[in-house]
């Protein structure tokens, strides 16, 4: 294949000044912006969690008003889901997918930049939604991230801000997804067939497909909410013939697939990290590709397991129960694929690998509690207790967040050209893992004993568990200062990274991304590489 790329201007270094970032059309710069944005929001969302845990340190009211507490719970979740995990995932996709498939850039570079620059305004709106109630903006948003009516219809202006936050984020992630799918289908280097795609690329392929399907549905749902609030419609009000439960169906039709949106990119990262440090090719590549397809299909038809208590018929709940339990088959398959990859590998324990192994162990907890929650008669007791909180934090923090951390440690040398400090990385892993488990493990017990979620106060009998959780949370929160320090230190300098970065990458996950220098030049693959 011959010389392939035409640039408007034939300069080859990065442009200078603020325009480089504001007007960017470069996948690496945009990826970096996504990642930095996610990191900033991680600290904001994390600070909210710290306030929540400080409040729950003791029974009784300590720091915040009940409504504001619920507002913190709401915005903490929305920030973590929409402004941390999803943007970080897109940031990784931006950086790595073009490098992995041998493309010069994303398929639509300008739209790519627009997807990113929609995020800061959305974050502003999200934060504004917490502030306006203090300035006469009416009732705080105290619904939780699920925004159920009728409560969400009674909230003040903050809810409108949240609705439009969701619209903006929706537009951003739909555009991002269109870009990613198009890039994967259209921009592969010659010879890079679909079944040669690295696992991370496959995981994003499914994620993007999911987002294109479910984001518009959520957008429709919150639009109806807006109309019920301001234009006199009665979608969610039985007095006009509507049904508040309808909103729950819409929310979870989006919400359940959304948890896979959060999970899958990290599973893709594991598919790269584990083979590298086990120095063995990934076990069962095809089964993982098809397993993700199964997850995709099943994920779209099991949403009502979040609503067992709404009074559905026995037939309906049974259907959703069986569907949900079926999901553990592809999820289990992924875990087994990773375990078999480890089997008889020559394993070393660098930080990304520590995270990967930790994920396998801790995420399995979430899978187990998930199956418990899927069982209707059991869930009738667990629902809306801290058991659910424990379940989804075990799913989301190892399943999504630690996957992202693994990715950061795995690829940071590629991005910056410097190795991070391995000793600090390991300390961070143990510090954060201990903090995380101390925070959320006790919540299984307080939940089983009946402690309800999203309530500012609790019965005295739960005090010990909550003190443990709060101590754990502060340990967990503090560990992130070290994370920040490691990242900044690595950007500034450190041991030079080789092109391959990891000894095992040529064995475990050989790919185009390791053939370019670390850090890669501003433009890569201007001549499409040939993949054998």
């Amino acid at each position: 294949m011959s010389d392939a790329i035409t640039h408007e201007a034939h300069h080859h270094g990065p442009p200078t000044g603020a325009k480089r970032w504001l007007y960017s059309t470069n996948h690496k710069d945009i990826g970096t912006m996504y990642l930095i944005f996610a990191l900033i929001m991680l600290f904001i969302g994390g600070a909210m969690a710290m306030v929540i845990r400080a409040e729950l340190w003791m029974p009784g009211l300590q720091l915040v008003q009940p409504d504001f507490f619920n507002n913190l719970v709401t915005n903490h979740a929305l920030i973590m889901v929409f402004a941390v995990v999803m943007p970080a995932g897109v940031g990784l996709a931006n950086w790595m997918i073009p490098l992995m498939i041998g493309a010069p850039d994303m398929a639509m570079p300008r739209m790519n930049n627009m997807s990113f620059w929609l995020l800061p305004p959305a974050a502003c709106m999200l934060i504004l939604s917490m502030i306006v109630p203090f300035f006469g903006g009416g009732q705080t948003v105290n619904t939780g991230w699920t925004l159920y009516p009728p409560l969400s219809i009674q909230s003040g202006m903050g809810m409108d801000l949240l609705i439009f936050t969701i619209h903006i984020l929706g537009v951003s992630s739909i555009m991002g997804s269109i870009n990613i799918i198009t890039t994967i289908i259209n921009m592969r280097a010659p010879g890079m067939t679909m079944m040669k795609l690295p696992m991370f690329v496959w995981s994003w392929f499914y994620t993007a497909l999911l987002l294109i399907v479910v984001m518009p549905i959520f957008a429709g749902g919150v639009t109806m909410l807006l109309f019920d609030r301001h234009f006199g419609t009665s979608f969610f009000d039985a007095a006009g013939g509507g049904d508040p439960v309808l909103f729950q169906h819409i929310f979870w039709f989006f919400g359940h697939p959304e948890v896979y949106v959060l999970l899958l990119p990290s599973i893709g990262v594991l598919g790269m990290v584990i083979p590298t440090f086990a120095r063995k090719p990934l076990f069962g590549y095809k089964s993982l590709v098809y397993g993700m397809a199964a997850l995709y299909g099943l994920g779209l038809i099991v949403w009502a397991h979040h609503q067992y208590t709404i009074g559905m018929s026995i037939e309906t709940t049974t259907y959703f129960m069986i569907g949900t339990i079926l999901i553990s088959i592809p999820v289990g398959l992924m875990i087994f694929n990773f375990i078999f990859t480890l089997w008889r590998g020559s394993i070393t324990f660098e930080t990304p690998m520590l995270f990967a192994l930790g994920i396998i162990v801790m995420f399995s907890f979430a899978g187990t509690t998930g199956v418990m929650l899927a069982v209707v008669p059991a869930d009738l007791q667990y629902h809306d207790t801290y058991f659910v909180v424990a379940h989804f934090h075990y799913a989301l923090i190892p399943g999504s967040l630690f996957g992202l951390y693994a990715a950061v440690f795995f690829w940071l040398p590629k991005w910056t050209g410097h190795m991070y400090n391995e000793r600090l990385g390991k300390i961070f892993f143990w510090w954060t893992t201990i903090g995380f488990n101390l925070t959320f493990f006790p919540q299984h017990f307080s939940g089983l004993a009946g402690m309800p979620r999203r309530i500012v106060d609790y019965n005295m009998i739960f005090t010990e568990f909550n003190v443990m959780s709060s101590v754990g949370a502060f340990i967990f929160g503090l560990s992130h200062l070290l994370f920040l320090y490691i990242i900044i230190k690595t950007i500034k300098g450190g041991e030079k990274a080789t092109d391959e970065v990891w000894e095992g990458s040529s064995i475990g996950c050989a790919g185009l991304e390791w053939t370019v220098p670390s850090p890669p030049p501003f433009h890569t693959f201007e001549t499409a590489p040939q993949v054998k």
């Binding site: 442009p15 007007y23 627009m114 903006i168 429709g220 499409a528």
Partner: protein, 290 residues
């Protein structure tokens, strides 16, 4: 510059994306103020920004297209992009149709006391579930006012169906004209399509006016009015966008921008128009007719 099959055009720095993001932000922030009793000026500013952005961004794209920068591979990108965009739109409408089915066939029955849940019509004892839902559970007291009658399928809605279907035909006719190089056929076909779009919009505006004033059917008249306006309203909005895009393409056609091989802008808009057409058929069937 190589115009090789596999070469790809990468744009340089562009100010339009960030302008677009800002304009969207300002517009929506304005809407927040408006629905909370403020004025619409911020939305106005945002919309002006959007118009400026669309004009500027599309001018750049048209310019790039005319100077031959879009190789076949870039063309494929645009096609896929449009395809997935329309897919996401399909799911947006899927949401509203899903709600309509859920409300009509499931939850309305429960309100009327049907099903395994026992008498869920305890609140409103003499409520009978019927579709279209004219007499409301609370008898129209309080928040909602009952409509006098439901919208029938004959008359204007039928005319609108025929108008949209015809516009699909004229559009395809115009497309054939482009591919075979018949100038008059191109221009007439597309011109007629734009006109039919405008007529459709006028009919619908009149229909809304009639419904509000003569039939008392408003957003406020319970779930029937709510679903009616939500579905037809979002569809109408898409027709308006589609007509605008068709108009832009029409101007470009008059300027001679399209060749028999290279006219993706035309095709993309045509796909969109057909999609809007199909949505209407669903609407006609489930909202007006059944």
């Amino acid at each position: 510059m190589t115009s090789n099959e596999d070469s790809y055009y990468l744009p340089d720095l562009s100010k339009w994306p960030i302008i677009a993001a800002t304009a969207i932000f300002v517009t929506l922030l304005g809407v927040v103020f408006w629905v909370n009793g403020g004025s619409l000026w911020l939305t106005g500013v945002g919309l002006i920004g959007m118009a400026y952005m669309f004009y500027g961004w599309f001018s750049v794209v048209i310019e790039e297209s005319r100077s031959g920068k879009y190789t076949p591979k870039v063309d494929r990108t645009f096609r896929m992009g449009m395809f997935w965009f329309i897919t996401s739109e399909v799911f947006f409408f899927f949401c509203f149709f899903g709600c309509l089915f859920y409300l009509r066939t499931i939850s309305l029955g429960w309100l009327g006391g049907e099903g395994a849940m026992g008498r869920s019509n305890m609140l409103w004892d003499d409520f009978t579930a019927a579709w279209p839902l004219i007499s409301l559970p609370n008898g129209g007291a309080g928040l909602y006012t009952e409509a006098k009658e439901a919208m029938g399928p004959m008359g204007l809605p039928l005319a609108n169906t025929l108008i949209l279907l015809t516009s699909g035909v004229t559009l395809t006719w115009s497309h054939h004209g482009i591919k075979s190089g018949h100038r008059a056929q191109q221009v007439w076909g597309l011109g007629l399509t734009v006109m039919l779009g405008v007529i459709f919009l006028f009919c619908q505006a009149y229909e809304y006016y009639h419904a509000y004033v003569a039939m008392g059917l408003t957003l406020n008249s319970g779930i029937y009015g709510a679903t009616f306006y939500m579905l037809t309203g979002f569809h109408g909005f898409h027709v308006a966008m589609g007509t605008l895009m068709l108009f832009v393409v029409f101007v470009r056609l008059l300027k001679g921008h399209f060749t028999a091989e290279n006219h993706f802008a035309f095709e993309g808009v045509a796909w969109y128009w057909h999609f809007v057409d199909v949505v209407w058929l669903g609407l006609y069937l489930f909202v007006y007719w059944l």
